[in-house]
Symmetry: C2
Subunit: 187 residues, 2 copies
Amino acid sequence: MLYPNHIKKDYNKFVSYKNRGMALEELLNVSNEYYREIDRAIIYKKPTPITISEVKYPNNSEKIITKAYFRTPSTLDYNGIYRGKYIDFDAKETKNRTAFPLANLHEHQYQHMKKVIEHGGISFLIIYMNGLFYYLDGKDIITFVENNTRKSIPYSFIQEHGKVIPQKIKPRLDYLKVLDTLYFEEV
Amino acid sequence: MLYPNHIKKDYNKFVSYKNRGMALEELLNVSNEYYREIDRAIIYKKPTPITISEVKYPNNSEKIITKAYFRTPSTLDYNGIYRGKYIDFDAKETKNRTAFPLANLHEHQYQHMKKVIEHGGISFLIIYMNGLFYYLDGKDIITFVENNTRKSIPYSFIQEHGKVIPQKIKPRLDYLKVLDTLYFEEV
């Protein structure tokens, strides 16, 4: 072994966290692309919200942003339409094995989720935790938050109220399958 | 007069164009904010799509984008939910007084519009032209494109098939009023 154990452990933790992070967004992007390809749903990830503060024009045809800042998003990252319904969700992950920290969901995002549901849309989180991808419906998240003072959702709650999202070759994460069972008569 | 006439004219054209451009996005942003405030609809402008190629960390808490490029959007700029329906639209303007050049709507955006309608959503353009804000429904745009080889939509078509959007103090552009008459029983 090249590294002493405690370094190796930290290194793995970092690498696997970063990989998971990339993987989750990537898995959803290819899944959404596939859904659009087979015309099942029109769902996109929103661009990263930034504030542009400096733009340069090195020549007539080029326009480069040379200074910009990341903004905290006030909505969820993914939205679109499925079976005529407005869909709005986000993907989160945690290394925590016993609970999902609600700090992962900004206050504005939580309020947005509530509003979407009140207006007749479907909102949820996809949570990667303990090696599985869980679908957790916005209604269950709201019920939890309104009846608890805890700052994290216990894994047991997610296991009980969430659904494990099927992983396939295409789509990689078939989260619409979960929506079929929850919101529509299955086709 | 400070400027010879032909320079002044060009200057005014530039200024008014830029102002109109800012104004249209700004008018829609404040209108959408108002709609959210009174809980009438949950509609947001998507962030500008960019490709980030360089990020710097001047200190532990700061993260600055130092190089990024604008990407051509493949969807429309605004989406959300109104009266339970998925809404997806864009705002365009033209200085052309006789026709709206279809070059303003990228091929991908046009295809996206078609898909949204096929999936049961509502899609449209808000076109600022000849001093008025027109609502032009996606279905009318598709009908025009499929039955014409022209590269622009004549103003007469917009006047006949579009609706003039009421301008108010709040909301500044009451485009949902047009949706009420077209898609819902009025409230």
